[in-house]
């Protein structure tokens, strides 16, 4: 060992993590604003309006408020589990952004098993919800955690099945490879060859990130606030941020796998990626301000009786067709 | 409206009253022991319970049960008078389950003991209140005969003396009655 090799890859990852951190913070603020504006306009009101021009600074004020609030722990809660939960919920989110190819250049880390990486790490979120529910010493939180675990575990299966169908066709788990296998025009994207897989994926994604109509773990009219009933200040803020980041990740995957990633008509680049991703985010937010919530047994019925068989059938048909042609 | 339920029921005094004037068509005085039987008969005739209220009179607490029928204006008022010092009435919650809350409310306001009630704990008032707010002072109480007219008496037990002779007088001397009303 005469010349120390500069650990290029390590530096790259550290820089990428820093960039991802900034990206997460910025996108969190933007999403809060978008969500409240969409809610407002759907309900024929302006949404946030007073802080800054058209309320642009409202999310910043919200963030300041959350940071400034007292952190509160209920009597009888388990302090370790209680404070661990928001951190466990938030940290994997940073990792999840690493393998996502925003553009050919803007990729944190080329991971050959990209999809597997993301799915594996996003599973940690369930653990956080479980810890939060158990550690809070609150019955509502406990019920919410129970729901969260059942829901997340159940919906991961059809989610995986729907992605597998595309992976079969591409023959790679690398996200950049998947993007390159699609063309720049919409009919060359996988959504046209695998529409059913896309529908299954999107439904599962909404359920996986606990958004309406599948927001049962935090159903406020039933469980007050579900697993984060007892959290205040930034501890709640971390859960909140993690939820939004998970939304971004599932939409990013959908963009990569089904919508052609950074490719688009006329030009390619990160702009297309973000446009597609935000369009999907808008749809998820739009869902929330339109639909009522399903009941818990219905939620599981949808999964086990509809999505899972459909996903399996879709996978089998894909495999069969692949074999023939 | 059929009055099947009244056949064979021992009442102290039963009277028909005018719906236009009082909003009731029957007002029936019962002794507390009979109330459960009357409720059961009304239940069999498909009446539903409206409310249970109490009037604090000089003669005692008058517990008033209102029942009505889905077929139209057929409000029946069952009444039973209980003494101030020992207000006990059997609970009808076993027949009309909705009476449960009404009885608890009456217990809150007047301290009436509904015997046989499944869970006679305070409903609207705090547990440690210590008094019954709607009980009137002794001198503010008014005798029953000054509060309501019995109406057209159909049947009356000779031992029932709350409306002594006046009722019959009232029937014959309407103008005189109105004069007393104005005072």
């Amino acid at each position: 060992m005469s010349i120390p090799i500069i650990p290029v890859e390590l530096i790259r990852i550290i820089v990428a993590l820093g960039a991802v951190g900034a990206f997460v913070g910025l996108n969190g603020l933007v999403l809060v604003y978008v969500e409240r504006k969409v809610a407002g306009h759907c309900q024929r009101r302006p949404g946030p309006f007073e802080v800054g021009p058209h309320g642009l600074l409202t999310p910043l004020a919200d963030a300041l408020k959350l940071v400034g609030k007292q952190l509160f722990m209920p009597t009888g809660a388990d302090p370790w589990l209680f404070w661990l939960a928001p951190i466990v919920s938030f940290l994997p989110v940073l990792l999840l952004f690493l393998p996502i190819p925003f553009s050919p250049v803007l990729t944190g880390m080329e991971v050959h098993l990209g999809i597997l990486f993301i799915l594996a790490f996003s599973g940690i979120n369930v653990l956080a919800l479980c810890l939060a529910g158990w550690g809070s010493n609150n019955k509502w939180a406990l019920l919410g955690a129970g729901r969260a675990v059942a829901q997340s575990v159940a919906y991961e299966i059809p989610l995986l099945l729907s992605l597998l169908a595309v992976i079969f066709m591409v023959g790679s788990l690398n996200l950049s490879e998947i993007v390159r296998s699609q063309g720049s025009w919409p009919w060359q994207w996988h959504i046209c060859t695998q529409p059913l897989a896309f529908l299954i994926y999107f439904t599962c994604a909404v359920a996986e990130v606990n958004r309406n109509p599948f927001d049962l773990p935090e159903a406020e009219s039933e469980l007050t606030a579900g697993f984060h009933t007892e959290y205040s200040g930034m501890a709640f803020g971390l859960f909140f941020l993690a939820e939004y980041m998970n939304m971004i990740i599932v939409c990013s995957i959908a963009t990569v796998v089904f919508l052609g990633g950074w490719q688009g008509p006329f030009f390619s680049g990160a702009l297309w990626f973000f446009a597609k991703m935000y369009a999907l985010l808008f749809i998820i937010i739009w869902f929330r301000w339109t639909y009522p919530r399903v009941r818990f047994n219905q939620l599981l019925n949808i999964n086990w009786k509809w999505l899972l068989p459909l996903g399996l059938a879709n996978l089998l048909v894909t495999a069969f067709l692949m074999k023939i042609f | 409206m059929s009055e099947q339920w009244m056949k064979g029921l021992k009442t102290l005094c039963s009277a028909r009253s005018s719906f236009e004037k009082t909003g009731q068509i029957w007002s029936v005085f019962l002794s507390p022991e009979r109330i459960l039987e009357a409720a059961r008969r009304l239940y069999d005739e498909e009446y539903f319970i409206e409310d249970i209220s109490v009037v604090d009179t000089a003669d005692g607490f008058l517990v008033v049960y209102h029942f009505d029928h889905f077929d139209g204006s057929a409000r029946v008022a069952l009444r039973c008078l209980v003494p101030h010092d020992n207000p006990r009435v059997p609970s009808i919650a076993s027949v009309f389950t909705g009476a449960d809350w009404h009885e608890r409310e009456s217990h809150d306001f007047f301290g009436i003991e509904f015997t046989g009630h499944p869970n006679l704990i305070p409903l609207l008032l705090p547990d440690d209140l210590g008094f019954h707010p709607l009980i009137k002072e002794e001198k503010a109480r008014v005798p029953l005969k000054d509060l309501m007219e019995p109406g057209e008496i159909v049947e009356c037990d000779p031992g029932f003396t709350l409306f002594p002779e006046e009722a019959k007088e009232a029937e014959s001397e309407k103008p005189a009655k109105e004069a007393t009303q104005g005072s």
């Binding site: 969409v38 407002g40 306009h41 759907c42 309900q43 024929r44 009101r45 302006p46 309006f49 739009w286 869902f287 301000w289 339109t290 639909y291 | -």
Partner: protein, 184 residues
């Protein structure tokens, strides 16, 4: 067979989700209905019942029509109105002298009657339930509801409104505007 038909029905009914999105999507594009309060105001407030105000005499805008009959104060369900009658004016020394002289002459002395005017007319707005019984029962029509929607105070004590002072204030304002108009 029934189960199949039911399943098919469920799939068909999924269309209702799209219809729902259409409705909210339509309103997303519509103008919103919020009135941005300090910059814009609503105009249908002339029937609103705000705090009471006294109706002035047609001759003198600083004096109310009130004859201190106490109908409003005694009938208010909440006891929100405090009404005090003016005391009889103190006789001047000359009058006192004349009175004594008259007494000495053995004539019957006519004491000055208290004027039928309120000395204090206070409405405690924190108690008022705005039922309108005072307004309806005033025999001379001396009180009415103002339509002051934007009435707000920062301290509870400020809710005890001195209606006479408010009446004088309004009269002063009216004069001011009148004089301004005259100047113009």
């Amino acid at each position: 067979m029934g189960a199949l038909r039911e399943s098919w029905q469920n799939i068909v009914d999924l269309w209702s989700l799209i219809v729902g999105l259409k409705v909210t999507g339509k309103y997303f594009c519509y103008r919103h209905r919020t009135v941005h309060y300090p910059r814009k105001t609503v105009d249908n407030i002339n029937t609103f019942r705000g705090p009471l105000e006294l109706v002035p005499k047609s001759k003198d805008p600083t004096k109310p029509k009130c004859i201190v009959c106490m109908m409003c104060a005694t009938n208010c369900p909440c006891g929100a109105i405090t009404l005090v009658k003016k005391k009889a004016p103190k006789p001047t020394p000359e009058e006192l002298k004349a009175e004594e002289e008259a007494k000495a002459r053995g004539e019957k002395v006519k004491k000055k009657k208290a004027p039928k005017e309120p000395a204090r007319f206070i409405q405690d707005f924190s108690l008022c339930s705005l039922c309108g019984i005072c307004v309806e029962n005033c025999p001379v029509g001396s009180i009415r509801f103002s339509n002051d929607v934007y009435f707000a105070v920062t301290r509870r004590e400020d809710l005890a409104l001195d209606l006479l002072a408010r009446l004088r204030e309004r009269a002063g304002e009216m004069e001011k505007t009148l004089s301004v108009e005259q100047e113009a």
